[in-house]
Symmetry: C2
Subunit: 116 residues, 2 copies
DNA sequence: CCAATATTTGGCGATTTGGCCAAATAACGC
DNA sequence: GCGTTATTTGGCCAAATCGCCAAATATTGG
């Protein structure tokens, strides 16, 4: 894993940016088109400075880009595919806790061996 | 957003579980089939107790399930679609920092209005 | 039962995150 | 320039996260 550590580090950085209820909700809103910061502020029950910081996190991760137009700043998604995350995440939520034994698997008799 | 807060909370929980380099790497390994804890331990340069806790996080999020066979415990993905996350995440990484103005957008002249 | 292997759990310090407040910055209209 | 609106930034504190160590638990084989 060591030689790929940086890659997974950067990937994790992106997921970390998404891993917050408010930010996730904002990304969902942005999936339908750009949104002004002030619109977010009105819809969410947190301080506007908090919203701004959340958007900064998304921007820093490369998920969104911003553009100032007049007094307002608009944000939009940089990569549309993030929308697809919801589908899979919800699948995890819906998936029943399937217990059960792997049919093709036998009990290990030897000691642990390395991962390829 | 308030009425959907719980949904986004649970979704974020799942993404948070993925949002760590080591855990992300482990999920990637699990995409190719079940893996024993001891195999992870040998491949990653952290304490085995740390590995165990990372796996517990993934399990708690519903992403993986475990099964003990003899002395060893094997983990496997519960939902295959998480593999698709990598494709999109990497797209975010590769996407150039496209600056530029939204063509169809004009400067706002009114004050901020609410989000639908 | 005892020793060895495999894994989980509890606890501890160090770092990061999240949210609020206050202050700074930006753009606009008068 | 001044006041207003919109947004970002810095500081602060509470809470969560990460990784190590030590100890507990589980399983197997003498």
């Amino acid at each position: 894993m060591q030689e790929q550590a940086e890659l997974y580090q950067r990937r994790a950085e992106i997921l970390k940016a998404l891993a917050h209820p408010t930010r996730l909700w904002m990304v969902d809103q942005l999936a339908q088109g750009e949104v002004c910061v002030c619109q977010f502020v009105e819809a969410v029950g947190v301080d506007f400075s908090t919203i701004s910081k959340h958007l900064a996190v998304l921007k820093r991760a490369g998920l969104v880009e911003d553009e100032r137009r007049g007094k307002q700043v608009f944000y939009r998604l940089r990569v549309p595919c993030v929308t697809g995350f919801f589908r899979c995440v919800d699948q995890v939520l819906d998936h029943p806790a399937a217990a059960g034994t792997c049919a093709a698997c036998t009990t290990a008799k030897e000691d642990c061996h390395e991962l390829a």
